[in-house]
Amino acid sequence: MGWLGPAEIEALKLSLRVSFWATLVTLPFGIFMAYALARWRFPGRQLLNGLVHLPLILPPVVTGYLLLLTFGIQGPMGKLLGELGIIVAFRWTGAALAAGIMAFPLMVRAIRLSIEAVDPKLEQAGATLGASRPFVFATVTLPMILPGVIAGSILAFAKAMGEFGATITFVSNIPGQTQTLPSAVYAFLQVPGGEGAATRLVVISIIIAMGALLLSEYVGRRAAARVSGS
């Protein structure tokens, strides 16, 4: 990658790390939330659904500010995590937290759709054959929603790569620490002569976004074919 400067490489690597962890840590919560919203009927379900989708419709700067209030050093969650020795404010972990929260609704939507497509009658069949709920989930539901889980994860990863507003509000724009790819593009555009670096990062952004989209389509089709048995 000789054509990239060290600051650009650093931003790219940081973004990949942030997005990877944001997606991985969010995934179990995303599957659980999608299952709960798709299959369980409980009071406040619509409210929960709204909460999950909030980051999608709120201005990102608002989400970032709310994160700062709760997870900042003086915030309630921030203090709690601080006592456990985890500090997210102005660290790459904070960037991952912001990216994860912003990507969460996209992930839940994709997985929820695939869960709703699974016929509950198949899960009943599993139960009559002796499988308890967790086993039915692991042996019937999960394999059948795999395409949705993969598609949701790739979508979430791509969203995390592009997250800007909440991240910059919550953890600022510190090179090497919280300066992700979009933050770096923004920073380069602020200084005279930075257009070259910005353009290179923009090209990389486009490649990653396109690649993620194509990959998710491909994997989704492969997995769907496997699951439907054709």
Binding site: D119, K121, L122, Q124, A125, G126, A127, T128, L129, G130, A131, S132, R133, F135, V136, T139, V140, P143, M144, R226, V227, S228, G229, S230
Partner: protein, 365 residues
């Protein structure tokens, strides 16, 4: 009694309130759609929680609302064969078959997979996925999957309803073998009189959520007042023995000294069978008929005549072969002067005896 069912439940249209005890073998829940059959099976399976009731298999309670006892479906040790098969699409046939086996207690694994696979003739399908199977093949795999879970109770909810006649004829023998070779009670839901005649050890006739008749197939099916599937389902069930296969494509059966002919069936000479004779395929004559194309004429005496509000009547004729039912008009009853004790002849068209009405004989029926 190996299966004991007491249920009360409110459905949108009907109130379910029924009890029955079933012996080993196939207990058929018979009734038209909406009579509550599937609700009963789902409550037994634990997929539906009834308002009140108790179900026990060999004295082992699956639930009892009085004791606040409720086993979840996965602890009921069932083999449920669904109408649509419900095979797992992401697993191969082999994996589908072993699914229930994974969860069965090790000491309870009675069935030998190789034997079951051979019995169902699905050895060549093991590496395929359900999407690549025909309807009949899917249902055979579903039977195998249920059986290999080593269940203490087999449930079947209209397992043939989604199949065409040829596939039905392909699957029915496997249920007969289940009944005769597997010592597990089977609760079988259907609205087909032909399936009842072939499979039932006992029949529980349901109407609007109540048991209207319960007993051996030959009794329940001969009672036109039950007629859960309509008057067309009324028919006598006779015990017969295969006498001879004739060169002209007919098979000769012997029943209590009388001879019956029907289109050739695959059963061996000397084999004991049950055969259902639909009442609407029987014609009555007060004199020995002459110059008729029908080959089967049974002489007997009128036992009962049941007439409803409509123009039809069901006449029960005692013949050497057993009681035969005929569906005739009330006008004919008057014209022929039919009354209990009167001699008459029951005429059955040979081709009216369809192969799907022929099944292996049962000891208790």
């Amino acid at each position: 009694m190996s299966l004991s069912v007491h249920l009360q439940h409110d459905l949108p249209d009907i109130k379910l309130d029924l009890s029955f005890d079933a012996p080993l073998g196939v207990t058929v829940l018979f009734g038209r759609s909406g009579s509550g059959k599937t609700t009963v099976v789902n409550a037994v399976a634990g997929l539906l929680r009834p308002k009140a009731g108790r179900v026990a298999v060999d004295g082992w309670e699956l639930f009892d609302t009085n004791q606040n006892l409720w086993l979840p479906p996965h602890r009921r040790r069932l083999g449920y064969i669904f109408q649509e098969g419900r095979l797992f699409p992401h697993l191969t046939v082999r994996q589908n078959l072993s699914y229930g086996r994974w969860f069965a207690p090790k000491h309870a694994r009675r069935e030998n997979p190789d034997k079951v696979i051979e019995m169902l003739g699905i050895g060549h399908l093991l590496d395929r996925r359900p999407a690549g199977l025909s309807g009949g093949e899917k249902q055979r795999v579903a039977i195998g999957r249920a059986l290999l879970a080593s269940p203490r109770l087999i449930l079947a909810d209209e397992p043939l309803a989604a199949l065409d006649d040829a596939r039905k004829a392909e699957i029915l023998p496997y249920f007969e073998r289940l009944r005769d070779e597997v010592s597990v009670p089977i609760l079988y839901v259907t609205h087909s009189a032909a399936e009842v005649a072939r499979l039932a050890t006992s029949v529980v006739a349901l109407q609007d959520g109540k048991v209207v008749r319960h007993g051996p197939a030959s009794d329940v099916m001969a009672d036109p007042s039950v007629a859960p599937a309509g008057v067309r389902a009324v028919g006598a069930v006779l015990k017969v023995r295969v006498q001879e296969h004739h060169a002209d494509g007919l098979t000769e059966l012997e029943a209590g000294g009388a001879r019956l002919f029907l289109p050739r069936i695959p059963h061996q000479v000397g084999e004991d069978l049950r055969i259902r004779i639909p009442a609407q395929e029987v014609i009555l004559s007060s004199k020995r008929p002459d110059g008729l194309s029908a080959l089967n004429v049974l002489e007997g005496t009128v036992e009962t005549i049941r007439a409803g509000d409509g123009p039809g009547a069901i006449v029960s004729v005692q013949t050497p072969a057993g009681p035969v039912l005929a569906r005739v008009t009330r006008r004919s009853v008057t014209a022929l002067g039919l009354e209990p004790g009167k001699r008459c002849y029951a005429v059955i068209k040979t081709v009216a005896l369809a192969p799907q009405d022929v099944g292996g004989r049962l000891s208790p029926a």
